[in-house]
């Protein structure tokens, strides 16, 4: 790990093999153990529900990033592959005779195959080009299938969608998946399997060439690879794992509706993936975890959570195109140099005021919203455990003063942080 920058030219081949296996297995073991023991720490039913949703989002986001991050293809309609996989699985659940003969944990394979089937059909013409043309076709196909959901009622169930019952499947070693916790372990199992398979896919020849085609399709063509076929294979593989996510959704919620197919869902997975960071394999995982938490917590606290999510998203695109993973990985050089601790104090001095400033700003936003949209006569609102009258001047002054002061403090401490950053990333020199 430490000698990534300089290599011993003598035996590179051996080092590579010996090193990579031991390094790459550790995160998987840790992740598996974490998934195994999390339900013992968070026992509440609501916690299990959140974790299930998180896991499904992780698979979907990783599948999405096979296109966006690894293949350079921006899709505005990826929800349909997850959705169709899910719809197909609900139909399988409703085929009594057939479903009684397959154990529930195998259902995601069927979901995957349906997602893959659809991706094969669409990919046949949509992967000819990357960039804008691909994005537009994905949007068109996505809207088309979403619109079909109210027309082809036999398959999509129209406005109310279709529902099934997961417990009619063949018992799996006596487990009938009546309880939430049993479903949790089923999903957890599939998260590990899918993530591992997607990671391994990125290490195969076609996975490596997907990166090459993303960076430079023309050059890749002059290396003997058709950029189109490379994209097609990535697309089909992504469709499979999106379908797996859809199947897990079907198992967990036992109902699918038009909402699983539409542009909102497709846009949301773009948001999740980009927020986490498209440049690293673990980025979408991070994005899925953070987004699900933020969504759950914020949507309980405020009606405006989608607004905040939008602001966060636009800010990420503008200022941190590498997403959360990118920000984290920026610190690797400083850690290698052993100077990361130089950053702790400057970070606290800058980011804490920034956080307070952002909270102050959001308080103002909430107050404006309350002022404009609360029922007439309802002047009382509660914010940060404080109840006050939004139609008096004092709360506004307090909020403005706190916000301005916090941002001023942040600005004052900013140069110090920048200086510390440079120092932490410079080789040599004495520690301060």
């Amino acid at each position: 790990m430490t000698d990534q920058l300089t290599t011993d030219p003598a035996k590179p081949a051996q080092r590579m093999r010996a090193g990579s296996m031991s390094i790459t297995l550790m995160p998987w073991i840790i992740a598996s153990l974490l998934l195994l023991f999390l339900p013992f720490i968070f026992q509440a039913n609501s916690a299990i529900t959140i974790m299930n949703q998180m896991s499904i989002t992780i698979i979907f986001a990783l599948a999405y990033n096979m296109l966006l991050g690894q293949g350079g293809m921006l899709s505005f309609g990826h929800a349909v592959y997850m959705g169709v996989g899910g719809f197909a699985c609900v139909h399988i659940m409703n085929m009594d005779d057939f479903f009684a003969n397959i154990p529930l944990p195998l259902l995601p394979v069927f979901g995957g195959l349906f997602g893959m089937g659809l991706a094969t059909i669409v990919g046949a013409f949509s992967t000819r080009k990357a960039g804008t043309v691909f994005a537009m076709i994905s949007l068109g196909v996505g809207e088309l299938i979403a619109a079909c959901s109210v027309i082809i009622v036999a398959f999509f169930g129209g406005e109310e969608g279709i529902s099934g019952d997961r417990t009619y499947g063949m018992p799996f070693f006596g487990v009938e998946f009546l309880q939430q916790i049993e479903v949790y372990y089923l999903i957890a199992f599939w998260v590990i399997i899918s993530a591992a398979l997607m990671y391994l896919f990125s290490r195969t020849p076609v996975g490596r060439m997907a990166n090459a085609v993303r960076d430079n399709p023309e050059r890749a063509e002059f290396l003997g690879y058709s950029a189109r076929w490379v994209r097609f294979y990535s697309f089909v593989a992504s469709g499979f794992f999106a379908g797996v996510a859809g199947a897990l959704f079907a198992i967990n919620y036992e109902i699918l509706t038009e909402e699983n197919l539409n542009l909102v869902t497709s846009g949301q997975i773009l948001l999740v993936t980009f927020l986490g960071g498209v440049g690293f394999f673990f980025g979408p995982i991070l994005g899925a975890i953070v987004f699900t938490l933020v969504q759950t917590v914020l949507s309980l606290q405020t009606e405006l959570w989608a607004f905040y999510a939008g602001v966060l998203f636009v800010a990420t695109v503008m200022f941190f195109p590498g997403g959360l993973a990118g920000v984290l990985m920026m610190h690797v050089p400083a850690m290698r140099l052993g100077k990361a601790k130089l950053l702790v104090v400057p970070y606290i001095k800058t980011l804490l005021p920034a956080l307070i400033g952002i909270l102050g700003l959001s308080a103002l936003v909430e107050m404006v919203f309350h002022f404009r949209h609360a029922a007439t006569g309802d002047h009382e609102m509660t914010l940060f455990w404080t109840t006050f009258d939004s139609h008096t001047l004092l709360p506004w002054i307090v909020a403005v003063v706190i916000t301005v002061a916090a941002f001023w403090l942040m600005r004052m401490n900013m140069p110090g942080m920048v200086a510390a950053w440079h120092q932490a990333n410079t080789v040599g020199k004495d520690r301060a």
Binding site: L200, T204, M209, D215, F222, L223, A227
Partner: protein, 259 residues
């Protein structure tokens, strides 16, 4: 034209090649045969149509008229990857590497097809000894082994040009085409790259485009001079240098262009 064995087909054969962009004809009827194992340089002043010719040969642009044959096979209408699989590999004038991937991965990617991996998704690239060792051998040839795990985009310009050549030769193609491999380099860097080219194109057919005759003088077996879309002379370096037409048309323009 040259002392060519009639029995063997030339590695590359160009016949009556023409290209127009709108009303302007850039390439105005080119015939050229390049024998196997020959190092052939196409030189000419800026704007002579060298890069256009290069892009026509590798089917990046469709030709207006004429044809290009590789080992006797017509290249018209073929996609770049099909041409590459027939044994032709090219570099680019503007450095064209996979800048977000490491130096090692750049070279490894260029080995994949020729080692028969195709679109495989059941092999792990890190598990293949041939791939790793093959890529390292190429890196050793182009002296970039000590940069192995750096992102390619962070290399110096000369190193990126060397990597570009490494990617081009890695797949084992027998016809190598280099587009101004020394463009924008200092004298010492140029000498270094020329030596590198000589080393890596041993026993291969080399076609390179260059605007500086001095660069190719010691390297090329044959030189063709391209001026305003036409080849005005072809021959051994000494013959070409002595040719008065070349002196007039090429050297004059080159002097004008450079200073």
């Amino acid at each position: 034209m040259k002392d060519m064995n009639a029995a063997t087909t030339p590695a590359l054969h160009i016949d009556g090649l023409r290209k127009s962009f709108g009303k302007t004809e850039i390439i105005r009827g080119i015939d050229l045969s390049i024998g196997r194992g020959e190092r052939h340089a196409v030189i000419g002043p800026n704007g002579a149509g060298k890069s256009t010719l290069f892009n026509l040969i590798t089917a990046r642009f469709p030709a207006t008229a004429g044809k290009v044959e590789l080992h006797g096979q017509d290249l018209a209408g073929l996609a770049p990857y099909q041409i590459n699989r027939m044994g032709l590999s090219r570099s680019f004038q503007i450095t064209n590497i996979f800048s977000n991937m490491t130096v090692f991965e750049n070279v490894r990617c260029s080995l994949l097809w020729s080692q028969g991996y195709k679109y495989s998704f059941w092999n792990l690239v890190s598990r293949s000894r041939e791939l790793t060792e093959g890529a390292d051998a190429i890196l050793e040839q182009i002296n970039l082994l000590n940069r192995r795990n750096l992102p390619a985009g962070t290399l110096s310009y000369a190193e990126q040009r060397a990597l570009e050549i490494g990617i081009t030769i890695a797949g084992g193609a027998d016809v190598i085409m280099l587009d101004e491999p020394t463009a924008g380099m200092s004298h010492s860097e140029t000498d270094y790259i020329v030596e590198l080219i000589r080393k890596v194109t041993e026993n291969k057919t080399l076609v390179m485009v260059e605007h500086d005759m001095g660069v190719v003088f010691g390297l090329a077996d044959y030189i063709s001079v391209l001026v305003y879309g036409e080849i005005i002379a072809t021959g051994r370096p000494e013959e070409v240098r002595g040719n008065p037409k070349v002196q007039e048309a090429y050297l004059g323009a080159a002097l004008e262009a450079e200073h």
